[in-house]
Point group: C2
Chain length 374, copies 2
């Protein structure tokens, strides 16, 4: 029992470049909301039966404000991006049907499809070194797949979580619609970081992650949709007429939605700084390349999430005392967190909201490490 | 935008007798955990790919400790009790199959079944004034239902969320097994409040709610099962061999699990005081009856959640200035929170962890209100 109770977080005071974490750091407002709304069912103080209709706190107003932010017709709160994808796939699923997914998709897109009983067809990327998703390949894969069965949905990861690539989503949406296939954008790394509007792109669903990119405690996600899919997605229970089946009545019924709401004004402001974030990412990428660490994926890069390749670090790992953990240990010593233990040849990181001075510390660290072991 | 940001909670400083909320108030340890682990994907600092295997913080150890607490073989964390019920039903579902549910079930048991494509057969309660679920009725309903199709699961709400009734769960488990039907106990109002062990009862699944009864921020739930169901429930993805499909890989991947862990030692201790909680509930019920407010359901009562009936308050509501909202307003004036606005004839409340002095304030309030309007 002594192992449980309050536990300290070990990465406090570290420079954090973990792609999973840079967009989910709480705003000051969200930190206050945590404490205020921490108790279990705190948001249910004045609930009349539907999360979406809670007036105090203003959950209703927030859910009404989301479509403008997401560029969609109707929005819902989910327990995360993966749960949003599953809700869509489950609602659209039919026996023997298919979903077409980009080859850079997050693993949860596959698993949501598996859980929803859908077969998966994959749109391959272009391979090394750019790993791009080309719109025309969607046409090919949809066409092939339609011969095997109904294609009920296409998914595009925008950007993907490995390379941070931003494909031509408009073109992909157009192709999907030419084949009468609705398109879901998985924007877990976009919504809350950069400007993105579902209908400007021409998609039918958009999914975002509160804990990944909206400065919120988790798990929580947002789901936007076109009105024409509301009948399927927002189907009400036969017995409980005010409850939506795909959301099991209520989803993020606690502190997670209050931190999402608390950070919302902050998030709306920070996406206006996106150009600067891209500029900073490109600067970081260049500096890494000067050290001989090559950035893969879109180039010049358009997102803070970047994938790097280093033959030199890999060579060092073969001889270093701690083996492939040497890089992790060297970075830890310098209070830099976020590159997975054991990785040396290929690793990803994020520069999002990390001050340039801190990124300079990271660059110097890589420089020192390379020098130390050469 | 000014509506969002940090929002104050309006029930601070109130005596809280809301059944949804009395068991979900954070422990001191959990309040500290909130602040420490508030950032989005904070628990993923040292994750190697599976929530259940995270060593730092000790999520792995916690999930290993849960079966002993729940009296089951294997446990998992879910995004809530309803999500746990859905996972079980979805994993066991077959076309045209049925689930047998007690007539006092929470609405989410029905909706989980609807979402999982299962038909629902209901075991009726005995009606006014006790609304009991009698074990033998399970036999009747299972027998009838088996003529229509496979019965893949039975559900018992233990206790239910309306009357706080605790049926003879052991007897019901035995009956279900006589018909080869596994039994799921929905213990959202039991696990974390009172001692309850799945295998002592003889059930096959047990579901608990962190935010409802385990002093945790939400949404979060626990699911316990017998090993023989692990194959279905913990099925791994075909493509991602370390990810469990029914849990979409990871569930409560954030601060919610850290508050659950923080409160765990506190919860383990507090359930030892259950007898005193029952005694206090019975005392409260007696005092309410002295005021002419009748407690329905099990009597003497065995749980802190109680349902009351008052003809007098109902009569007053017909003539009072604020109509049926008079009771809510009178209680609010006295800083008592938890009885739904608009209810007078029938309402529920919970005495769980509410100090006797505060319950005396509540009793005095009812006395004063009855006197004022008589």
């Amino acid at each position: 029992m002594s192992k449980f109770g309050f536990i300290e977080r070990q990465t406090k005071g570290f420079i954090n470049i973990d792609p999973l974490q840079t967009g989910g750091k709480l705003s000051e407002e969200a930190k206050k909301a945590l404490v205020e709304w921490g108790d279990g069912y705190s948001v249910c103080d004045f609930c009349a039966g539907r999360l979406e209709e809670i007036k105090t706190p203003p959950i209703h107003d927030f859910i009404e404000a989301l479509p403008d932010f997401l560029g969609c017709d109707i929005a819902r709160i989910t327990n995360g991006a993966r749960e949003a994808k599953f809700a869509v796939m489950h609602a659209l699923s039919k026996p023997n049907a298919w979903v077409v997914i980009d080859g850079n998709a997050h693993y949860t897109s596959y698993i949501a499809a598996e859980r929803a009983g859908l077969n998966v067809a994959e749109v391959p990327n272009t391979g090394y070194p750019e790993f791009k998703i080309e719109p025309d390949r969607y046409a090919e894969v949809i066409e092939e797949t339609k011969r095997k069965g109904d294609v009920v949905l296409a998914v595009l990861t925008y950007p993907d979580g490995n390379y941070g690539n931003l494909p031509n989503a408009r073109h992909i949406a157009k192709i999907c619609h030419d084949y009468d296939v609705p398109l879901l954008l998985n924007c877990a790394y976009a919504v809350g970081r950069m400007p993105v509007k579902m209908k400007e792109i021409g998609a039918d669903f958009i999914v975002g992650s509160g804990h990944k990119s909206m400065a919120s405690a988790g798990p929580i996600g947002v789901l936007g949709m076109r009105e024409e899919y509301a009948g399927q997605l927002l189907r009400r229970s036969e017995k409980y007429k005010n409850k939506e089946v795909e959301f099991l009545g209520c989803t993020a019924r606690g502190v997670t939605i209050m931190t999402l709401i608390a950070s919302f004004p902050y998030v709306v402001e920070r996406i206006k700084q996106w150009d600067k974030e891209v500029e900073k990412a490109r600067w970081f990428s260049e500096k890494m390349e000067e050290l001989g660490i090559v950035q893969l994926g879109d180039k010049p890069h358009n997102h803070d999430l970047m994938f790097f390749e280093s033959e030199r670090l890999y060579e060092i790992s073969k001889k270093a005392k701690k083996g492939r953990y040497f890089l992790y240990r060297e970075l830890k010593k310098r209070k830099i967190h976020g590159i997975k233990p054991g990785l040396t040849k290929h690793f990803k990181l994020s520069t999002y909201m990390v001050p340039k001075e801190q990124l300079e510390v990271v660059l110097n660290a890589f420089g020192e490490i390379l020098e130390k072991y050469s």
